[in-house]
C-alpha cells in the first residue's frame, strides 16, 4: 500500500471523557467512542505524518504489537473512520484549510 496520510475532520467535536475518546459528528450527530489504539491514531492524525510512521511511533512504541499487523489494523481502522466522515485519508499530505 502506498504512503497514507490522515487528518482529523474539522466538523467533529472530540473530548476525552472518563478515559474514553468520544467523538461526535456535527454532520449527523452520530457519536463514536474510540479505544486506546484508535485514540492514539486519532490524536496523531495531523495530515502530514504518514500513517506507517504514526503506527510505528504511537502504537509499536507504546503497545507491544507486531508492526506489520498493527499497520494492517490501522489501515482498516482509518478506512472505517473515513467512511463515517470523521477522518480524512489521502495519499498526499493533507493541507490545513483555514
Amino acid at each position: 500500500m502506498s504512503t497514507v496520510y490522515i487528518a482529523r475532520v474539522k466538523e467533529v467535536a472530540a473530548r476525552s471523557i472518563g478515559g474514553e475518546m468520544m467523538i461526535m459528528s456535527a454532520r449527523d450527530s452520530t457519536l463514536f467512542s474510540l479505544n486506546e489504539t484508535a485514540t492514539a491514531i486519532w490524536q496523531a492524525a495531523d495530515g502530514v505524518t504518514p500513517l506507517a510512521e504514526i503506527v510505528q511511533r504511537s502504537l509499536c512504541a507504546q503497545f507491544e504489537v507486531d508492526p506489520a499487523a498493527a499497520l494492517r489494523d490501522a489501515e482498516e481502522l482509518v478506512e472505517g473512520l473515513a467512511k463515517h466522515g470523521i477522518l480524512k485519508v489521502s495519499d498526499l499530505p493533507i493541507e490545513e484549510t483555514p
Binding site: E11, A13, I17, G19, M24, A26, D28, S29
Partner: protein
C-alpha cells in the same frame, strides 16, 4: 374593513424573555392563559416573534401533516417547518415570524426550538427530563418517552416543587448549573413553577422491581444524556456546542441511574 392592532406579550422562560406580537386578540388570550406563570411584561426581550394567524390549510409550509419537523439554516435565517406552522428566525436581528393557526401547539414547539438554539451558544440545554426542587436543590430525571418522567413527578412529595414533567431547562451560570421551571408539560398537563434552583444531580430513569441508585461511568452518562437532549438543528457549529455542553455537564454534575418502582418511597432516596 377594520384594521387589527398588534399587541404583544413577553414570555420569560429560563431567564430568556421572548416577545410575541400578534394582531389576533384570540391568540393573545391563548398565550396569556397558556403561559400565565411565565408572563413578564417588565423584562427586556432577547428575541421577538411576529405571529401571523392563518387558517390551517393556508400555512405557507411544504411539510405535510404526517411529516416530522424540519429545521434548516438558510441564507442567515433558521427556517422551521411542521404541518401546523412555519417559522423564520433571524438570529442576528433576534427576530422571527411565525405563520400558524390560533392554537398554542405551534408556538410551544417554536419556543422549544428557539430556546434550544439560543441556549446552545450559552452552554445551556433543554433535556427530555422531569425536574423537581427539593430543599432548595434541583434534581433532574431524564429519560425517553415512557421512562417514567411523569410518574416520578406525580409521586413527588408535597414539599417538592415541580419545574416540569417533560422538558427540563438547564443553564450554565457562573456558580454552576441551574434548573429553571418551564411551561412545557408532559402527560401531567401541568406547567412547572417559574423558579430556579442549583442542579444537585441528574438521574437516568429506569423502572425496575426495587428502588436504588447506581453510579454511571462518565462516558455512559455522556451517551445517555446526549440521547435525552433536545436539539433540532443540523448545524455543525451548534452541534459542537451541544456536545461540549453535555461533556461539561456530566463532568461537573453527579449523574446516577435511578431504578424505581412506581411508589412514593422512591423519594426517600432523593434528598
Amino acid at each position: 374593513m377594520g384594521c387589527a392592532i398588534a399587541q404583544d406579550v413577553v414570555i420569560e422562560i429560563g431567564a430568556m424573555p421572548v416577545l410575541v406580537r400578534t394582531s389576533s386578540p384570540e391568540f393573545l388570550h391563548i398565550l396569556r392563559e397558556r403561559y400565565s406563570g411565565f408572563v413578564n411584561s417588565a423584562a427586556q426581550p432577547v428575541f421577538e416573534f411576529e405571529v401571523e394567524i392563518v387558517a390551517p390549510g393556508r400555512i405557507p409550509t411544504a411539510i405535510g401533516d404526517d411529516q416530522d419537523l424540519s429545521v434548516r439554516f438558510d441564507a442567515g435565517r433558521w427556517v422551521l417547518e411542521r404541518g401546523d406552522f412555519r417559522a423564520e428566525l433571524d438570529p442576528a436581528l433576534r427576530h422571527g415570524r411565525i405563520w400558524q393557526s390560533a392554537t398554542p401547539y405551534a408556538i410551544d414547539a417554536a419556543f422549544r426550538i428557539v430556546h434550544s438554539l439560543l441556549l446552545a451558544r450559552q452552554g445551556g440545554l433543554l433535556v427530555h427530563a422531569a425536574s423537581v426542587v427539593r430543599n432548595g436543590r434541583a434534581f433532574l430525571f431524564a429519560g425517553v418517552s415512557g421512562a417514567g418522567k411523569t410518574t416520578i413527578s406525580r409521586l413527588a412529595p408535597p414539599d417538592a416543587t415541580l419545574l416540569t414533567d417533560e422538558i427540563s431547562y438547564l443553564r450554565r451560570e457562573a456558580d454552576g448549573y441551574f434548573a429553571y421551571g418551564t411551561p412545557f408539560a408532559g402527560e401531567l398537563a401541568q406547567p412547572g413553577e417559574n423558579v430556579r434552583a442549583p442542579l444537585a444531580a441528574l438521574y437516568l430513569l429506569a423502572q425496575g422491581t426495587e428502588n436504588r441508585i447506581d453510579p454511571v461511568a462518565e462516558a455512559d452518562a455522556l451517551r445517555e444524556v446526549l440521547r435525552c437532549v433536545l436539539f433540532f438543528a443540523h448545524d455543525s457549529e451548534l452541534v459542537g456546542h451541544v456536545f461540549d455542553s453535555v461533556c461539561h455537564l456530566v463532568q461537573r454534575v453527579p449523574v446516577r441511574r435511578l431504578t424505581f418502582v412506581p411508589d412514593f418511597r422512591v423519594w426517600e432516596l432523593i434528598v
